[in-house]
Structure formats: C-alpha cells, structure tokens
C-alpha cells in the first residue's frame, strides 16, 4: 500500500491527535479566562482556604518582604507560593498548604 494524501485513516488519526489536545487544554482556557482573584475570594468566603493576610501573620514571615504571592493548584492541592526577600537580600520561596496554612517543605523550591 502506497501513501496517498487522502488516506482517510491517516486523517482520522490526525483528527484524534488534535481532538485530544482540544480536550486536554480546554480547562486551561477557562482557568486563564477566569480571574484568579475571584477564585481566591470565592474559596476564602466558602471558608475553604486561609486568607493571604492570615498567612502573612505567621511568625516566620513577620518582617519579610513579599515579592510575589501565588495561589496555585499543585498536583490537585491548593497551595500558596510566596517569594520572599530576607534581610540579607536573598530571595527564597516558601510553599504553604492553602487549606491549613501549614508550611510544605521542599516542593516548589529550586
């Protein structure tokens, strides 16, 4: 059997590949489209997560400058990722479980 441009099975497989991409990435378009802040506010109002200001009240975070704070879903778990600047001018990252406010070690650190 020689190749033909119009081989139906070949195009069907190509369509399956593209279709799987559409299925896998459609959720992402929704996530990007929805405002992150809205989701964070909703989750907090529902009492599901600790607020960022509560988190920043933790003793080890007092006096640290927060460069960046992100609420993220990591492997299905909601986490806060904080990028902090310490007194020595070093940047480091801390990850907290958004449900309990407890620190998570290791994950997310480079």
């Amino acid at each position: 059997m020689f190749e033909t441009r119009t081989n139906r099975l070949s195009w069907l497989f190509a369509a399956l590949a593209v279709g799987s991409a559409a299925m896998l990435f459609q959720g992402g378009v929704q996530v990007v489209a929805a405002d992150d802040h809205d989701e964070a506010r909703e989750l907090r109002h529902a009492g599901n997560i600790v607020s960022l200001s509560e988190l920043l009240g933790r003793p080890e975070l007092l006096g640290q400058r927060v460069l960046e704070a992100e609420l993220e879903r990591e492997h299905g778990r909601l986490v806060y990722e904080l990028e902090l600047l310490d007194d020595a001018g070093r940047v480091h990252e801390r990850v907290y479980d958004a449900l309990t406010g407890q620190p998570l070690n290791g994950s997310g650190e480079d």
């Binding site: 059997m1 020689f2 190749e3 033909t4 441009r5 081989n7 099975l9 070949s10 195009w11 497989f13 190509a14 399956l16 590949a17 593209v18 799987s20 991409a21 896998l24 990435f25 959720g27 992402g28 996530v31 993220e72 879903r73 990591e74 492997h75 299905g76 778990r77 998570l104 070690n105 290791g106 994950s107 997310g108 480079d110």
Partner: protein
C-alpha cells in the same frame, strides 16, 4: 502538476501532524516544567496520547509509517553506520536504519518520561520525580542526536528533510528503498 510528478509522497497526514504536534508539546513541556504545573501535566498527557497513536499507526499505518518498513536488523543498522563513516551510505526514501531505531528510542523515552511523571506524588521530592527528570534529560539527548542526524543526512544527500516532514514529499530518486 509537473512538479508533483517528480516528487513522491512519503509522510502521510498523521505522521506529519504527529511530528510537529510532538515538537510543540515537547517545547511546552520543557518550558512549563517547575513553572506551570497544570500546563506541564496536560502537555505530558497530550504527548502520551500522541505516542500511543503513533505506536498504533506503526502497526496499521501507511507504508513508511509502519515499524515493519523501517526497523532493520542490528547488523544492517551497523553496516549503515559504517557506510556513513565511509561517506557513501544508501539513500532511503523513508527512515534509514539509524533513523528508524531513533524513532523507537524516542517513543520509548517519551513513554518512560510521561509514565514516571504521572507517578509523582503530591508534596515532597520523591523517587518518581528523580526518575522523571532522568528520563526527561535522556530524551533531550536523543532529541539532539535526532536533530544532528537529520541535519547530517540532509547535507549528505542534498535534500531538505525538515521540509519533507512538513510537506510530506521528497524528490524522486532512482535506487531508493
């Protein structure tokens, strides 16, 4: 149509869609690693779907896409490689023996990378994460060898293999296998 007559159709629609989707997915997977977990994981699943489809297509697909068309014995592959050194290897219309084994190595490397990635647990660094990174690096080396092979073969036979993977056609030659 005059031009068409001198060209032969080699890579069918799925092979080409597969190849360039994989390139795109691979770049996104590397770029999103440790940065954007959701995108990284979805891209990983996408690559596994692509690899799965390619494996099925390798059994039932069109001529040059089938494993049976481009998997040559180790002996013939070694002969091909030694012909490369002497500078006059045979021209293959589809994958040459070295390229054929590279297809297999890449499919296996990507499968292992994807599977180990799926086994990574939440939270701390674990065994699967190390394995995943190991396979990812191994696959990256394969990709570079693949690129080198494509470039080398293109120059050697004076044909643009990258273009062929895009358009699906190659110039017709005598003595092709």
């Amino acid at each position: 149509m005059q031009i068409e007559r001198n060209r032969v159709f080699v890579w069918d629609a799925f092979v080409r869609v597969f190849h360039w989707s994989l390139v795109l997915g691979y770049v996104i997977a590397w770029a999103s690693a440790d940065e954007w977990d959701w995108l990284h994981e979805q891209t990983g699943y996408f690559i596994l779907v692509l690899v799965g489809l390619r494996m099925i297509w390798g059994l039932i697909g069109q001529r040059h896409a089938r494993f049976s068309n481009f998997l040559y014995s180790p002996r013939r592959t070694l002969n091909y490689l030694s012909d490369l050194k002497s500078g006059s290897p045979r021209h293959y219309l589809g994958h040459n023996p070295a390229g054929g084994w590279m297809v297999i190595a890449l499919l296996l490397g990507l499968s292992a990378t994807g599977a180990s990635g799926m086994l990574i647990g939440p939270g701390d660094h674990d065994f699967w994460e190390d394995l995943h990174e190991g396979f990812a690096n191994l696959t990256l080396i394969l990709v570079f060898v693949h690129l080198g092979g494509v470039l080398f073969s293109s120059l050697l036979h004076n044909e643009n293999l990258i273009r062929a993977m895009w358009t699906g056609t190659k110039a017709r030659r005598d003595a092709d296998v």
